[in-house]
Symmetry: none
Subunit: 199 residues, 4 copies
DNA sequence: GATGAATGAGAATTCATTCAT
DNA sequence: GATGAATGAATTCTCATTCAT
């Protein structure tokens, strides 16, 4: 099953065709170097058609991120079983994240990083989305503490560590090496995060 | 002691004046939205003068990053005492990183993140620099393992966790809150990383 | 009785609906700023339908002016009684003109002024129409002279004065003030034109 | 002595070169059909240079009109002798107007007519300028009445007649016929306006 | 060396017109 | 006939770069 297909496959809907093309081009080049005409061509439509569906290049960008992020978040909801142990949940999260990246190459860099400045509004929205994701992670940690699975650590700090680790690995490992065994990497990560570095 | 001064203080040297202004403007706006004229004005020189010292806007960007990165790396060399314990060294690294950020606000986002794409060459160079930093961290971990301070973990994975955590906190904590007690945050972080999450 | 109704009331005829909408929109915004889609919407038809009845935006404009002008000229023919005195005829003309304007607000500016250039052909046609109107006025003056009502003035010059006065008052007085007593104004005008300024 | 030269001859001043070219192009084609590049070429400068001196096409238009109007108004101030009889003054005004038109062909149509809509602000400004000109004419009439030269007519109505006549003749006579004896025409006009049409 | 006026390639956006349904 | 989604030519404006002073 290919998520990219799931994500943007409805050929009937030109809006989605354009968003899919936008994701590809924006991801490869960033906001400013990406040209509207290029996106239009990649979407197989005329330049003017982009403006039938979106009022500006900025709106295309914003809508594309929004769509992607919804998809990303839903992706986790479907896979996450909160009755399992925290360690198992985190394994699922990292694994799902890696899987998502494999199928939506590079797209991730557009979501969780403090970005190339487009405009204040988009920036603020991205920061808020990031915060929401952090809160979700912190909540899982908190549950683990309450269940007695984890030490009573600062949940916000722990969430930051988790997210930072995921982002750091995103570019470096998951994307760089085509056929990396990410399950093993994730086990390494969780080993360190759960048992600690110290002897 | 103000690092910004140290970093770009030679008023005689127009080249440095321009790099200092470039750091300020590029940091605030990103590569594309930053205008050469703006940088020139901020540097107190004429627009044409920028082209006396650099062949293009891209070169200004690249040189600025390079200069900044050298400074950043040297900053650590001066402060890092490899005879101390790994935990102490990591505390120094994180603390120095936070301190650097405080004094060179936002500059960091230009250094260690997979960037807004300028051009292939700059991109590749940044990836290499990032790798070098990771190697430095991995080396410290390795030393810790050899000395018996740390468990025999995968050093590359540990380095990624450390760097990811630093980056994640950079935007979120160090920069957002003006007068945050980062020493305490760093202790939280190291507590988790050394003792682990698990009970 | 509402002339606007008379002018464009045949709801069955889409062509007239479009011309009516065109008159409204072109009048309010001028040729270039008026959008075909806007006219179509105002006419209650689809954009494509406009092109079923007219070959281009320019043709819509030309046809609209032509229709309007025919209506305008016929308007006078119906009201003008050439057996009356010239002064009475001119009063009727000015009064009818004012009345027409009240009911077809702003439309007039589209007719008698040297226009925003659409194309050579339309321009030339408008000049010819204007000339025809001048000739009509000159003819009335000529009749007055022959009847001994008027001094033997240059009829072309007199016609220009009359038309210029009407145009000048069109924008200034008739349209600007909603409920102006134009009968009184016209009497002032004719007083000056017939008795002269001089003591 | 050539007024066009006086009007826009300072080759040193690129701003004026651009305004001169703008007057020529806008006059020939109207606001919308005139292209910025065309104006630039006519001014002998690059497209970008226009934007060094003006912030937008609209500003070029506005500035051009403003400059022209100042010149036009000053043109009269220099030629008008208020101690002379009103009839002589009006002869001077019409004659000067005709002369100005001869030397600044077509430019006039840009000044005193209710225009092709550019934007609200420019429109309002033009209306105000027109009003000012009308007030000046009314003032001359008023003086004539006070001096006993003229009948006690409504000065505003008389001013409208005068201005309407001038505008009407502008397009029709002064500009159309290259070598028309406008002095004779003006005498015809004043004859009618002063002695009246009636026997 | 230093400057900033001049430039024109390039980009976002608009909108008259077409044409498949 | 009627429609409006699709289109791309055309236009305004930006800005990195050049070069005469």
């Amino acid at each position: 099953m290919d998520e990219k297909k799931l994500l943007f496959n409805n050929k009937q809907d030109k809006r989605l065709q354009i968003l899919a093309a936008a994701a590809k081009i924006f991801t490869a080049k960033g906001f400013h170097p990406a040209k509207v005409e290029e996106i239009a061509t990649a979407a197989g439509v005329g330049k003017g058609t982009v403006y039938e569906y979106f009022s500006s290049k900025t709106e295309v960008f914003r809508e594309m991120l929004s769509y992607l992020l919804e998809f990303y978040k839903q992706y986790f909801e479907e896979r996450l079983d909160r009755s399992k142990s925290v360690r198992e949940q985190l394994f699922t999260i990292m694994s799902t994240h890696a899987h998502f990246l494999k199928n939506n190459k590079d797209l991730f860099s557009l979501i969780l990083e403090p970005h190339q400045p487009i405009d204040e509004e988009t920036q603020a929205w991205l920061v808020a989305e990031r915060r929401e994701i952090l809160d979700g992670l912190a909540q899982i940690i908190q549950t683990g503490i309450e269940r007695g699975e984890l030490k009573p650590v600062n949940t916000f700090v722990a969430a930051q560590i988790l997210l930072g680790t995921m982002i750091s690995f995103s570019g470096e490992v998951f994307l760089a090496k085509k056929d990396w065994d990410y399950q093993e990497i994730i086990n390494h990560i969780l080993e360190i995060l759960f048992q600690g570095l110290e002897c």
